[in-house]
Each structure stands twice: as C-alpha cells, then as structure tokens.
Amino acid sequence: MSAGTVSSSPAGWRLRLSQRLPLVIGAGILLFFLLLAIGAPVVAPYDPILQNGATRLQPPSLLHPFGTDNFGRDLLSRVIWGTRIDLQIALIGVVFPFVIGTIVGTIAGFFGGIVDALFMRLIDIILAFPFLVLMLSIIAILGPGLSSFYIAMALVGWVSYARLIRAQILVLKNSDYAVAAVSLGFGRFRIMFRHLLPNAIAGSIVFAMSDAVLVLLSGAAVSYLGLGVQPPVAEWGVMVAEGQSFITTAWWITLFPGLSIVCLAFGFSMLGDALGELLGVHE
C-alpha cells in the first residue's frame, strides 16, 4: 500500500469507491440480519414452532412466502427466528476463541522461551486433529446442545488466533518503540497490551470475519448432525436437515434456510475483505 492511500481523510474515503462497496454490502447484510433477529417477534408472521396439520407441505404462496414444512410450520417465520440462533452462533463462536487466542498468542510471543514452546506444542497437538472431528468428539463427550458447541469452539478455535497474534508480536517486540518502552521501564503487561497488541490485532480482526463464516457453517453442520440445536427450535442447519427427506417433493424446506446461511456467510466474508483492505492487512 503506497503512502498516499494510507490517508484517512474524507477525500481518501470517497476516492476508493471500489474499496467501500464490499464494506457497504457486507455491513448492510449483517445489519439486515441483525435487525431481523432483534425484530423477530414483530416481523415473523407466524409462531415458528406451532404445528398445524391443515397446512402441511404447502409450496410458497402469498400466505406463506417460503412455504410450510411437514409439520405445517411457516418457513418464513422459522427462517426469521433462526436468524437469532445463527447470529448468536457466529458471534459467541468467534468471541471466545478470539479472546483466548489473543491472550495466549500475546503472552507466547512476548515471553518466548519455554512459555512459547509449551503453547506452540499444545497448538500443534490441537491442529494435528481434523477440526470437525475434534469438535464432534468434544460435543459427544459434553452431550448435544448449543452450550457444548460453544465450549468445543472455544477449545478448538483459539489456536488460529494465537498463532496469528504470536507472529505479529514476535516482529513488533523488536521494533524501536517497543525497545524504547522497555528502556523507559514500563511494566511487561503495559508493553504487551498497550503498546504491542493494538498494533498486532488488525490481522486477527480481519481473520475473525472469515472465521465467523466457518463457525456459522460448523454450527449449521453440527446441528444438521443432531448435536447442536435441539428441536423444535428453528435453526437453519436443523431446517436443512429436516427438509432433506423431502428434497424431491418439497424443495422449499431446504432451499430457504440454505440460502440464508449462504447470505449471512457472504456478508461476513465481504466485511472481512473490506476490513482487510481498510486496515492494510494482506492475508
């Protein structure tokens, strides 16, 4: 990135429309889903879990824009209520790994030596297992449910953040201002979290956006396998799973929740891309 474009003046913003478009789209999609989640009780036309034998397996119509499922539940309402669960999954599933990973990565990078070696070997061990397999085994031990999913996510997901931050800290701790801070006699924690971390964290924030996509998809996958959200709660992954057996006769049951997953994931990755450009992070 050249010196001219680093400028954060309003003029600079206006000039880079191609850069702003992904940001607007990504943020717009997320905002839309956020509003939908908050307003679910008002926006949703029907009760998402109320079964109605009279309206089973109806194709999309004016009355039921997304159609109904095999229990006669309105799919539009279920998709809207599902937004709450899926956004929650994406947020909580990212925040815990982010916080844990950042702290561990900062400490490991700053202290180096035995502390670093220990954490890095632990990370190697976790990375040695395929991500989903490890997740599923932890959930199987804890028992199915969303809280198990969050715990498993926190236990497995932090390693990527830790490695990212550590690499940044390793570079930054030898920079002039860090050396200056040390020579001024500042405490280690002050240097770590006041001086180094703010400069190291941009990459993690961008990564968090793309990680949100992965978390969202794993959440849906785990629920699809019956280990996540339990029925009759509306969640997109569960809805896709429920519609699977009707895919040749009632395509709408799987299509709309599936599309919603795609849209939300798209929003996150657009935002991630745009933030990467803005913060000058190259992945």
Binding site: I49, L50, Q51, G53, R56, N70, F71, P144, L225, G226, L227, Q230, P231, P232, E242, S245, F246, I247, T248, T249
Partner: protein
C-alpha cells in the same frame, strides 16, 4: 490439466453408461436396492431383518409361514404328527436335495435344530431351550421331544434362523460357511457376496420346488440413501427397492413405470414408558399420557396417512389381535386434569430420540407439542442409535419411541418379551404385573386355540388398562418395483416370495 480432467470426466461418463447398460441387459436377474448389506450367512448368528430376509431366499425351513402370514404350511417337513401329551413331534422329511446334490436328511434337520439351541454364537438359543432332544429315527424321520408342551413351538420352526443347513457343509468350516454357504436348501444359492455392496444369488437347480422359480438370479444391492435408492428405481437402474420413505409414496405412485407395493407387516411403533421413574409408576399418570397423544395426527404427519392407529400390542391382522380393544380418546384437557389429580401437574419428561432417524425425530417433535397441551414438559435428547439402546436397557430415560416387528406368527414371542419376562425388564419398560405374567405363561401351555385366544384377549385388555406402553401406529412394508416385475411380495413376517417373482 483441465483437458486431462475433461478426458477423465468423459471416460467416467462412458463407464457409467456401460455400467447402466449392463444393469439392463441382465435379463432374469432381479436387482433389489436396500438400505444396508447383509452381515452374515450363518442364520443362527443374526437377528436382523436385513439378514433374515436373505436367509429365506437361500435356506428352507421345516415348516413355512404362508403368504398371508397367519398360517403354517409344509416346508421341508412334508407332514408331521404330535403326540397326545403335546411333547413329541414327528416330522416326515421331504425327498429333497441341497444345492450341492446331497440329499436333505433328518440328520441335517436335527443338527440344525440342536445347533441353534446349543451353539455359543447362537442369538436364538433361548427360544429353543424347550427342545429336550432332536433325533433322526431314520434318514427321513425327525423326532423332536419337548420339555413341556408348547403352543407356539411349531411356529418357531418357521423362523429363517432355524433353517435346515447341510451338516456336512457347516462342519467343513463354520466361518467359511458364514461367508459363502456351499450348500443351500432354498430357492437360491449364494454366488458371491461383495461385502458392503451386494449379495449375488443364483437359482438353485436342486431346490425341491425348482420349477416354481422363474428368476435366474437375484442381487441384493445396498444403497443407503433413501432418495438415491428411489431415483435408481425410477431411472431403471434397479428393478426394485425396499424401504420406500412414507413421504415418497404418493409421488412414486404417479410414475407410470413403477408399482408401489403396500404389504401388511407386523410393525408397531410405540412409546416406551419407564415405569420406575417417579410419577410414571402411577397407572393414572400413564393413562393421562396416552390420552394426551393424538395418534391420528401422528399417522397423518409422519406416515402420510399410510399407517393406522394402533390399539393393541398385537398388530392388526396378526394371530389373536383383539380388534375391539379399548382406545384412549385424545383429550388433552382430561389428561391435564388427571395429571393434576395424581399430583403430577408439573411433569417433566426426558425423551430419548434416535439421532438421524427421520421418522423418530418427526414423532418426537410432534409428541413434544402434544404433551405441552396437557401441561407436560418434554426435553428431547438426541442420541446416536448405538447409544440409545444401551440407555433404554439401563433405564436412563423417561419416554422413547421404539418399534417391534414379529419374527414368528404366534404372539407368544412378542408377548413374552414385552409383558411376561423379567430378564429384559419387559422391553425396557420395567412393567411389572404378576397377573399378566402368569397369564402369559399359561397361554404358552394352552393347546386349545379357542381358550388360548380368550387368554390373549384378556392379556391385551389388561396391558391396555395398565398402559405398559402407548401403542402408536401400525405401518405396512413399503416397496417399489418396475412395472415389468410381477409377484414381488412380502408377507407380514417379512418373507419375500422371490421364488414366485417374474421379470418380464
């Protein structure tokens, strides 16, 4: 790179074409798609339908169940007599041969009967403990002596697992026999078994009714995914497929190339109740739960109206089914009142659901809402099927849905398992009624059919009143075949009469 992949793609496509062509050319070979592959060819070592349904193609029994699934008819035993005390059975063995050309003798029959009783690998030994001795009086006469008289004994001989095996072939190597039986007494022989993929059967020219068999061979092909299996039949890659999902029946019926077979079965789905858990020990509470369930709605939603509401643990159409048995009306308000009266108004139940089982999950979601109307909170717990069985056995549940299909036409087997037994805690329900238990034991010894029927009516009434479990629905076997396949039929006990099937 791209070009290479293109070529590979074309090659694969061509291969697929050739493959599908070879499907179609094999005239006289019936290909049947099913969910899973066989597990063994040693009949005593399996209790699964997936195996039993192939056993009855390959091995012949002494006494057969007829097409209606309600009567016994001669198999390898041409005729039989029973002594007046009901203890000695004398069978006259038919003049027949195994597929390897050796004669089928009374010695083979005695060997097979004693083997299922005594072999340490037998899953069925309990059912044949009643046999005192089985001997060949001469090569064509089998004499069986029982320890006590037993009304259901003859019908247990129709079980595919006690089929007549060649003593010589089995003793030549049991493990090899279980992989690929070298001698078979049934309509077909096993030509090849590609584990995990398919079982290939070929017509047995030495079968005693060989002129009845029209097919040259049969292939049981495992296609686990329901949608794929149905598509294969629609595309003509399979002649037939079993286990049609309820949701697909209407659609397949409309296809002019297909025939959908709805054959009566003995399957009954029911809600198990753990009688040892708190309030569930009270009869009134269980009756209230029965009343809180709208069985008709379940039949409509889950089985798409194909099943019928169940009113007795003995399925409709089976021996001694009591059609006038009481049915609790669907009345959530009364259920709520009854629960309150019994002091169980804030009942919370733990419901074990088999994860991945479409029907189970649908019933669970529906029952949860129905129970909520009666003020009962139900927590669904999805568990892997391998684990759920252990949890039920251990009593780690309040309610759970299971099903049962009969193996023999006599009701004694199921009755013993679900009402009159101690060792399996009455099919995990922990139901305990001395009156019923004595009645079950007495009915087993009663040789007069009329008196026996009266006893079974009594048992069904009592079981209903006690709500040992909640009867939900009966459902038929759902199979589909191409229009050019005739006489593809399954009797209520699951036996496919492939000896009558014709491929035009």
């Amino acid at each position: 790179m791209t070009k290479r992949w293109n070529n590979i793609g074309r090659a694969a496509f061509a291969a697929a074409l050739i493959l599908s062509a070879s499907y179609a050319e094999a005239a006289g070979i019936l290909t049947i798609g099913r969910r899973e592959d066989s597990t063994t060819f040693d009949p005593i070592k399996s209790a699964q339908n997936v195996d039993n349904w192939v056993f009855s193609n390959v091995f012949e029994v002494l006494v057969r169940v007829d097409k209606t699934g309600t009567k016994l008819e001669p198999g390898l035993a041409e005729s039989w007599t029973v002594s007046d005390d009901g203890l000695t059975y004398t069978f006259k063995i038919r003049d027949a041969k195994f597929s390897d050309g050796s004669p089928i003798t009374a010695e083979d029959a005695a060997f097979s009967l004693l083997r299922i009783r005594d072999h340490e690998g037998s899953l069925w030994s309990d059912s044949y403990k009643i046999v005192e001795t089985a001997e060949a009086a001469d090569p064509k006469t089998l004499v069986v002596k029982l320890k006590t008289p037993s009304a259901p004994f003859l019908s247990t001989l129709a079980l595919p697992n006690v089929s007549v095996l060649s003593k010589k072939a089995v003793e030549a190597g049991e493990d090899a026999f279980a992989e690929l039986p070298t001698a078979s007494s049934g309509a077909f022989t096993v030509k090849e078994w590609r584990r995990g993929d398919r079982v290939i059967l070929e017509k047995n020219p030495n079968f005693w009714q060989a002129d009845r068999v029209k097919l040259d061979g049969v292939e049981w092909i495992s296609v686990p995914d329901d949608n794929t299996r149905m598509l294969n039949v629609q595309a003509g890659q399979l002649d037939a497929a079993i286990f049609v999902p309820f949701s697909r029946v209407e659609e397949l019926k409309k296809d002019p190339n297909l025939t959908v077979h709805i054959d009566t079965s003995t399957r009954e789905d029911h809600l198990l109740i753990n009688h040892e858990h708190g309030m569930l020990a009270k009869k009134e509470v269980r009756q209230a739960l029965d009343m809180a369930i709208d069985k008709k709605a379940i039949v409509d939603t889950v089985t798409f109206g194909i099943g019928t509401v169940a009113n007795s643990y003995i399925p409709k159409g089976s021996l001694y089914h009591h059609d006038a048995n009481y049915q609790y009306p669907y009345d959530p308000e009364k259920a709520k009142a009854m629960l309150a009266e019994a002091g169980a108004s804030d009942l919370t139940l733990n419901y074990i659901v088999n994860a991945g089982n479409e029907v189970d999950e649908q019933i669970a979601v529906q029952l949860q809402q129905q129970f909520a109307k009666a003020g009962v909170t139900v927590n669904l717990q999805k568990v892997d099927p391998s684990q759920s069985w252990d949890m039920l056995v251990a009593g780690d549940y309040d309610i759970s849905v299971m099903y049962w299909t009969n193996d023999i036409l006599d009701p004694d087997q199921k009755t013993t398992f679900v009402l009159g037994h101690d060792t399996n805690m009455n099919y995990m329900t922990r139901y305990n009624s001395d009156k019923v238990k004595q009645l079950v034991a007495a009915a087993r010894l009663e040789l007069d059919p009329a008196k026996r029927e009266a006893m079974y009516v009594d048992i069904q009434k009592t079981a209903k009143d006690d709500v040992h479990w909640v009867d939900l629905y009966y459902s038929p076997y759902l199979n589909v075949s191409r229009k050019n396949i005739e006489n593809f039929y399954q009797n209520p006990l699951g036996r496919f009469f492939l000896e009558d099937t014709v491929k035009n």
